[in-house]
Every structure is written in C-alpha cells, then in structure tokens.
C-alpha cells in the first residue's frame, strides 16, 4: 500500500473519500510557497520571491491538500521564513478576507504562551469564521513545548502520530502556560505524499490531513467551533506507549520539577499528549450528517 494511503486509512478517510472530495470547499494554506504543477486558485505573496516553493515545506502541504480535496478551491499565502509576528498577522488577515472553510497553518514556535499574544488572539479572530488547523510543533517529548500560535484557544491544534498510530515522539505536548490542554487531536506523520520521493516527518504534515477533513465538515455545518468539537469527540484513542514523565526545559533542578509536579496536577492530564485522540474522518462525517438531519427544518 502506498504510504500516503496508509495515513489516509489511519484517519478513516478512504471510507468517505468519495463523498469528501472538496467540491465547493475553499481552503487557504499559509506557507513557504506552492507546488509547481498543483492546482491553486490564487497566490498571495508576502515575500519578494516567486510563488513556487523552494524549501519543500509548502509544496508538501499543498500536495497533501490537493490529493485529499481534488475538487476544492485551494488558495495560498506565501510568507518568509523566519516569519515575524506582524507578517503572520497580515497573512492571517489575507486568509480571513477570502472567507475560507479552513485555514492550514503549519507554522510553529516553541515560545510558551497563555494565548494572549497577538498572533494567538488573531487566530481566535479568524477561527470565528473558519476552522484554523494549527500544527502543534515538533518540540516533544518535552512537556509544555506547545507554543504560539498552537496555544490559541479556538485553534484546532494538531499533534502527530507515527503510521502505527503511536504518538510521535517529537510532537509538541501541552499544557499551555495557563494550564489548558493541547493539542486537540492528532493525525499521522512519516508518510510520503503523492509524487514525492521523501517521507515527511513533522506536525506540519499532520495538519493538512485535519484541515482537509475540517473544511469538508465546515461546508456542511458552517460553525467552526462545532466542527472542531465534532473532530474531538469522534477521535479514536491513541497508544500512549511512552512514559508520561514530564520533562521541562530549564527546570534542571530536581527540586523544581518536584515542586511543579505537586503544585500543578494538570500536567498529568493525558490530553496534553495526544489531545482527544486520532482524527477519524468517517465518524466525524457520520456525526455531522446526523446533526444536519436533526437540526434541519422539516
């Protein structure tokens, strides 16, 4: 089985792939550029270089979205790397203007935040109209390695598992600085996107899997917070084989670690590792249809 289909099978997308083709769905991804011969409706370029990705990151994200949603309108906002927060806010604003069903944000930092930094605040603003899928980051197995903008309370923060559905070691962990658990869900990484010769590792490549499913559900329900909640509630449990020993950078003194563990019990919450579990596209789609039937006017 090609490795990408293995990832799709893990999130049960193959069962509903014929229904969730992305017809009438609009997705924006903010990244380092778009793939060379992949469908893109429009590019908004915030750099001085060409729209085409030269770093390999944006084109991989684009390839995943295009493979999952062949009928969708895909837009891209190209940003520089490293990316100052004011440019990221501009990019989010450009994405917001397009009124997409979902925004894919495979952009991370490991700077701890309580969600009151400007980018997290702006992500919450965009998430009032679209589902914003944000990569949790690759700072694991350290606890509290999830940073802005993944800490935004309204973001759908996506962690990573390997192709055996075990938590990926380097997927960033919660809690946030103010004690909320993150990520919200996990999706596979370590697969080879279609027409690529490399296996890609990182929460950046788990995020478009969740963004694609979320965009399709968003088209049906038109409420980002409900869509995010459906994805959480239908997620399947993940094997947390690794010990949940909290590791904290900077807390080199055993005394401090001991103090934190006794004074901050929320650090033991298993949702800080894999959120509510593995994305389940089939169950989420079924539940969405049930909800639509239940609330549709007679």
């Amino acid at each position: 089985m090609p490795v990408f289909e293995q990832a799709l099978s893990l999130i049960r997308f193959l069962e509903v792939g014929r229904e969730l083709t992305g017809s009438g769905v609009r997705v924006v991804f903010i990244d380092s550029g778009c793939g060379k011969d992949l469908p893109v409706k429009d590019c908004i370029n915030l750099t001085e270089s060409s729209d085409i990705d030269t770093e390999g990151h944006g084109s991989a994200v684009h390839r995943i979205l295009a493979a999952m949603l062949p009928d969708a309108e895909i837009y891209m906002v190209k940003v520089p790397d490293p990316l100052p927060d004011n440019v990221l806010i501009t990019a989010l604003n450009e994405a917001h203007k397009l009124m997409p069903h979902a925004v894919n944000l495979s952009i991370t930092s490991e700077i701890p935040s309580d969600g009151s930094d400007p980018v997290s605040v702006y992500v919450n603003h965009v998430a009032s109209r679209s589902v914003v899928a944000v990569a949790a980051g690759n700072g694991g197995p350290r606890m509290m390695s999830v940073g802005s903008p993944a800490v935004a309370s309204a973001a759908l923060t996506v962690g990573a598992t390997d192709l055996r559905a075990r938590l990926w070691r380097r997927s960033s962990r919660g809690p946030t600085l103010d004690g909320r658990w993150k990520p919200n869900i996990v999706a596979p990484t370590g697969f080879r996107p279609p027409n690529m010769s490399q296996e890609l590792y990182g929460t950046s490549f788990s995020t478009p899997l969740a963004a694609a499913v979320a965009a399709c559900l968003m088209k049906q329900l038109k409420d980002p917070s409900t869509v995010a909640r459906i994805l959480e509630l239908t997620a399947t449990p993940v094997n947390l084989a690794q010990p949940t020993t909290p590791l904290l950078t900077g807390l080199r003194k055993a005394e401090l670690v001991k103090k934190l563990l006794t004074s901050w019990p929320r650090i033991f919450d298993p949702r800080n590792l894999a959120g509510m579990g593995m994305l389940n596209a089939s169950a989420a789609h079924r539940l969405t249809q049930q909800l639509r039937k239940a609330f549709s006017p007679i």
Binding site: A60, D81, I107, T108, E110, S113, S116, S148, Q198, G250
Partner: protein, 92 residues
C-alpha cells in the same frame, strides 16, 4: 522564555502586571513556572501593546503605553518558523 518579561534599563518588569517588577511572587503563572520561564531570555525586535495590537519599538514606549492606560498588557515580538523542526527522509 517569557514573552511578558521586559527589560527596562537594568530592571525587568512584567508586561502583564504593570508596574510591578518581574519576580516569582507576582508572576501570573506561579513561582515554579517563573523559574523555567526566566532561565532563558531573548531580545525582541519590537513589542505589542494589547489588546489594541499596536506596535511599540522600544521598552520605553511600551512602558509609556502601559502608564497612559492605552495598553492593558505588553507582549514581546515572536519570530515563527515555517515548519520548524520538520525533517524528510529519502528512501531508495
């Protein structure tokens, strides 16, 4: 790294608890987390006055915005990475 710990002259103040100096006893995240947050620091290129989301170029300007009541709290600039820490593996 703390996004709220702002250096002004030789002193540090808490961008979230103006006009108090940064110290474990006033840290909004508690004494124990304070230690891990201040162990490493970074010098930002700018500051954000919140919730109006205005830019301030210096800690003095950030202080002025707080003292005049224009800002409720001040945050340091963050620089993000596009897919920071991702890797790819080629298979023959």
């Amino acid at each position: 790294m703390c996004i709220f710990r702002i250096q002004r002259g030789r002193k540090y103040f808490c961008g979230k608890r103006y006009p108090l100096n940064c110290s474990p006893s006033i840290c909004p995240f508690g004494e124990v987390l304070w230690q891990s947050l201040v162990n490493r620091d970074y010098k930002p290129g700018g500051y954000w006055s919140m919730p109006s989301m205005q830019r301030a170029d210096s800690p003095e300007e950030a202080w002025r915005l707080l003292s005049s009541g224009e800002a409720h709290y001040v945050v340091k600039e963050i620089v993000f990475r596009v897919g920071g820490g991702c890797r790819s593996l080629s298979r023959l």
